[in-house]
């Protein structure tokens, strides 16, 4: 697992900064998101008040394919798939049903799926893409930062791309130059938004 390269909390109150560093660490760890983050900078000014979090993300490129979690045993007229990890079972079945029809797909028990008379080679089935783990990542990250930010800060601007994330929150309307602020914080990590 890649470690977080840069993790700073910037705040005028040292005690508050230390507390928020701990909170951010605990929340990201609980949500299993630390491995996603490459660099993270949090800026809090309780006097304005404003909370800014900017992050550079690790690239999660690997797509989940059927071959990653299932063994395929071709037999006469059918193929038996032995599932090692159930996480992606539901999306896989959905794809099979759409592609081959429900008549050709059977699931005798939790860890076995049998395909009857399908027009595909085992190799092709192994290559079917089941899920893209980076897709819900942005949403998960934003959710985590809603927990990290002080609760009263309910006016938010949340932006996430595949490689960066920025989160600004305040209890008053956000200032107009908030993009400039986000850019400044990215610059502190030697990154661009």
């Amino acid at each position: 697992m890649q470690a977080v390269e840069y993790f700073e909390v910037e705040c005028k109150e040292p005690a508050g900064a230390a507390a928020y560093k701990q909170i951010a660490n605990d929340v990201l760890l609980d949500h299993n998101l630390l491995k996603v983050i490459y660099k993270l900078h949090i800026f809090i000014d309780p006097e304005v008040p404003i909370f800014v979090a900017v992050a550079k993300l690790n690239r999660v490129t690997s797509l989940i394919r059927v071959g990653d979690f299932a063994d395929i045993n071709p037999q006469e007229g059918k193929m038996t798939l032995v599932i090692a990890n159930e996480t992606y079972l539901a999306p896989m079945l959905k794809i099979f049903w759409e592609r081959f029809g429900k008549d050709h797909v059977e699931q005798p028990d939790r860890f076995t799926v049998v395909l009857y008379d399908v027009k595909a080679t085992p190799k092709e089935i192994e290559e079917i893409v089941v899920a893209d783990p980076s897709e819900p990542l942005g949403k998960d990250l934003i959710y985590a930062f809603r927990l990290i930010a002080p609760e009263g800060f309910r006016l938010r601007q949340e932006i996430h791309t595949r490689t960066t994330m920025s989160f600004v929150a305040s209890e008053d309307p956000l200032p107009e130059d908030v993009d400039k602020l986000v850019k400044e914080k990215f610059a502190l990590m030697e990154e661009t938004p």
Binding site: E13, A15, G16, Q22, P49, L147, P150, E151, G152, E171
Partner: protein, 312 residues
């Protein structure tokens, strides 16, 4: 005879011996928990008889210890009931205090979080005022605590212990007008308190709460109550049998100067006022029976000796 709050822990076997002993000595059982093979009693017993109880319960593997929070009701004021503040640290403290005998309730203002926007309304204020003490769980920034304190404590006349992220000295400096107690370095955090240093922090809060309550106790002792709340609890249990059918964990909650009766006010206020305390004295002569702002419960506020000229 001074009654002191104690906790008794022991096996379930023959624990009724201990219960009748406490009652025979003139003590009162406030709460009784049966957890698997163990019994935990929270009680008031005469100070000079603690050794006797310890001696008699020794063959039953019972232990008795003083626990000053027994017979108190504490409001833990969490800034919200969102995941930001619960279950840590508010529930952690509430649960810890409960384990050593206090009855804790979580109170959370509808608009608690934030700096400029936080405030409490009259219902929340009244609910807090029905407790013996309030413990405010604030956040991590001194700027915010300083800003929201005047709004959050407005109208609250019970003692307040403030816990917050900045250290104790900073809290004492920024909280104006002053609170009754302060515990620093416990702001918002999102992990369970289980390490030794975190648990000692909880002990520190308990110590501060105990100190403030002790002051209140001394004040009450100067003008004693007309009837002991624990004794009143026994009487209500005898004379209002409907209380025995209430399924709340504590149908009768003992406070330092009162009693919360978890029965509907409209139906049961009059029978409670008419409770006979002997010699022609009724409860209405010694206490105010008022509706509680918590559900439709009844709150019995016991009057001091100076107002009734009677002590039972």
């Amino acid at each position: 005879m001074t009654l002191v709050p104690v906790t008794y822990k022991g096996g379930i076997h023959q624990h009724d011996i201990v219960i009748s002993l406490i009652e025979d000595l003139g003590g009162y059982i406030v709460q009784k928990h049966m957890i698997a093979q163990e019994v935990v009693l929270q009680a008031f017993v005469p100070r000079e008889d603690i050794d006797l109880i310890a001696r008699i319960s020794k063959p039953l593997f019972g232990e008795i210890s003083e626990s000053p929070l027994v017979g108190t009701e504490i409001a833990v004021v969490s800034m919200s009931l969102e995941i930001h503040h619960l279950p840590h640290p508010s529930c952690d403290f509430a649960e810890y205090a409960r384990r050593i005998g206090a009855k804790t309730n979580m109170v959370s203002p509808a608009r608690g979080p934030g700096k400029r926007i936080s405030t409490i309304n009259d219902e929340e204020r009244d609910v807090i005022n029905e407790h013996d003490i309030a413990v405010y769980a604030f956040g991590n920034f001194e700027t915010c605590i300083k800003h929201k304190w005047p709004a959050m404590h407005r109208g609250v006349d019970v003692p307040i212990v403030v816990m917050g992220g900045p250290d104790k000295e900073t809290l004492e400096r920024i909280i104006d007008p002053p609170a009754d107690g302060y515990v620093g370095n416990v702001g918002r955090f999102m992990r369970r308190t289980k390490e030794a240093d975190e648990l000692s922090k909880l002990d520190e809060i308990v110590a501060e709460v105990t100190r403030v309550l002790e002051k209140k106790r001394q004040q009450i002792a100067k003008d004693p109550l007309s009837i002991q709340p624990a004794r009143l609890m026994e009487v209500v249990r005898e004379q209002v049998p409907a209380i025995l059918d209430v399924t709340s964990p504590t149908p009768l909650t003992v406070q330092m100067a009162g009693l919360r009766v978890k029965l509907p006010y409209d139906t049961f206020a009059e029978p409670i006022r008419q409770i006979d305390l002997g010699d022609g004295i009724h409860l209405k002569d010694l206490a105010e029976v008022v509706p509680s702002r918590m559900r439709d419960y009844i709150l019995v506020k016991i009057l001091p000796f100076s107002e009734t000229n009677t002590v039972i």
